[in-house]
Symmetry: C2
Subunit: 326 residues, 2 copies
């Protein structure tokens, strides 16, 4: 019973506990990757990487190896590689979004400027591929190169669709699948393959990761309007004029389209405007409706796990639940 | 005789003529790589890629396949991949350097802003790896992932060493080896391997590419102060406070160090300051001395080609000569 209540209370550290040694090895690989002798790389990369972060992608990579086979040296390389890809995208995203805070700390672009952030992002990305090469298995490079180009493509479409209130839900879902879900999917799929799973089994984990990622991004898009306590500035998406799911659902159901056009076309964003938007989103049930859609992806993610009946897959289930418990 | 005079007149198109069909296939692969359905990618990437550019790296990749074996489908994939890596670095470099012109045209960051340039650069880089995966040979990914992290590392060191007049020539050479020569070296090495060469032979081509790249970058650094006609703004390096070879040689030999410290620490760069710097570089023979060093690398590049006695290697020799003929 103690174990179950722990899961319910805090499933992420609980799942992490099972992979402490492995995550330690992964962190070591990551830090080795950024130890080049170039001080500017070491400073920025180690600050970013040591600052914590949930290590969700490496964790799901390792868990996928575990529930479908065994954790191998290749699982470690891949878990480190997906975290490096993630770190590279964070550095570039923070430049693109002009973000000031991440995980309650000043972003690299705030501390050191945009130029080093762009270049260190490129460096981490290249280093991720060097780690993948160590697996001596081109299938992993195939999956993760494809995921990497999708991440950029998703970000580019999102940039093009700034202020596009007429964006369809389908197109929004494609953006978040590309920019977020694909890397979760690839982390799980490569994790499974490195553990000995065949392609069919690994595809089940790909589907788990994809649906988990879709849920994760939808919830992130909701929290951007509602959560003051997650180490980022509330309202960043609105200030950047990103049209995310709550906005699209509200805009589609609102008879007063003008309100939205005015809010998204104001040259500057006042706190009053942001508060009006928040209020209207609540009135139109946009957060609850977004939550319903996130839950559908959570359900699909759980279904992909069903055939893997183990204590770890139960903890992965609990992890999904914990994200919904917002 | 006609052939020889053509080589002397214009060795680059002359060498290209031998690989027209191959370069056409390479261009097709590149354009296919950026055809994703995302209009912002297609617009930026095709503008950059169709704008011309010398296609030096794919050309040297193909020529390396040819003089050591035969041009294969993999040679085409690799030639396209190295050009995509190069294009990705151009997009990011122009953001970093705040460049306005490239090849006499407005840069992507000028036309579309920094954000799409960063993301499309990331996309091209990922696509380069997708092309490498098509070779089904992890050795190529090994070489080019390593080259890619070196490129970023070189750029980062260069950024860190802005205004560092005390930089040693050795450290300058490491920067340009990393940021420029490594990709030439990797293009030639992978070209040779894809043509059937063994590792020893491919290493000869690596050495050719490395020395060619060092020569190329030194000459580029000289031309940045001297050539008004190459599609870039003269003086970009000085305005960005990069300490390149002519500056380092002049600074080291000048008894008036204060002149250089003042020029490199002025908050704004006036035309008068730039002209004074140009004049002092001439007075101190910095361009001629740089040229002597470039020639040494040219000589080494030629030596690496000596054992490959073919009409193509002769044209590669002529190509080296043509760069020195400035």
């Amino acid at each position: 019973m103690l174990q179950e209540s722990q899961i319910a209370l805090d499933p992420l550290p609980h799942l992490k506990n099972n992979f402490q040694n492995d995550l330690h090895k992964v962190d070591k690989l990551i830090l080795e990757s950024v130890s080049t002798g170039e001080p500017l790389i070491e400073k920025i990369a180690t600050t970013l990487i040591s600052a914590g972060g949930k290590r969700l992608r490496p964790l799901l990579c390792l868990a996928s190896s575990h529930i479908t086979g065994i954790i191998t040296q290749n699982s470690h390389y891949l878990a480190a590689a997906v975290e490096l890809i993630h770190a590279a995208t964070l550095l570039h995203d923070d430049v693109i979004d002009e973000s000031i805070l991440r995980r309650d700390k000043q972003t690299a672009n705030t501390l050191w400027g945009n130029k080093p952030s762009i270049l260190v992002g490129d460096f981490l990305f290249a280093r991720a591929f060097e780690l993948m090469v160590k697996t001596e298995n081109i299938r992993f490079l195939d999956i993760l190169a494809n995921a990497s180009s999708k991440i950029s493509e998703g970000e580019i479409t999102q940039l093009r669709c700034i202020k596009s209130l007429g964006l369809s839900i389908e197109d929004y879902l494609k953006v978040i699948e590309y920019k977020t879900a694909t890397l979760f999917a690839a982390s799980c799929q490569t994790g499974a393959l490195s553990g000995g799973a065949n392609e069919d089994v690994a595809y089940q984990l790909y589907e788990f990761g994809r649906n988990f990622g879709l849920m994760y991004q939808i919830l992130d898009d909701v929290l951007d309007y509602t959560d003051e306590s997650r180490g980022k500035k509330v309202g960043d998406d609105f200030r950047e004029r990103k049209v995310t799911l709550p906005i699209l659902l509200a805009y589609q159901s609102d008879t007063n389209k003008l309100f939205w056009h005015q809010c998204f076309n104001d040259k500057t964003v006042s706190n009053a405007t942001f508060e009006n938007v928040q209020k209207r989103l609540y009135e139109l049930d946009a957060f609850d409706q977004s939550f319903v859609i996130a839950k559908q992806y959570a359900q699909k993610a759980k279904e992909s796990l069903q055939k893997f009946d183990s204590p770890i897959s139960e903890k992965m289930n609990a992890l999904i639940e914990s994200f919904l418990d917002v």
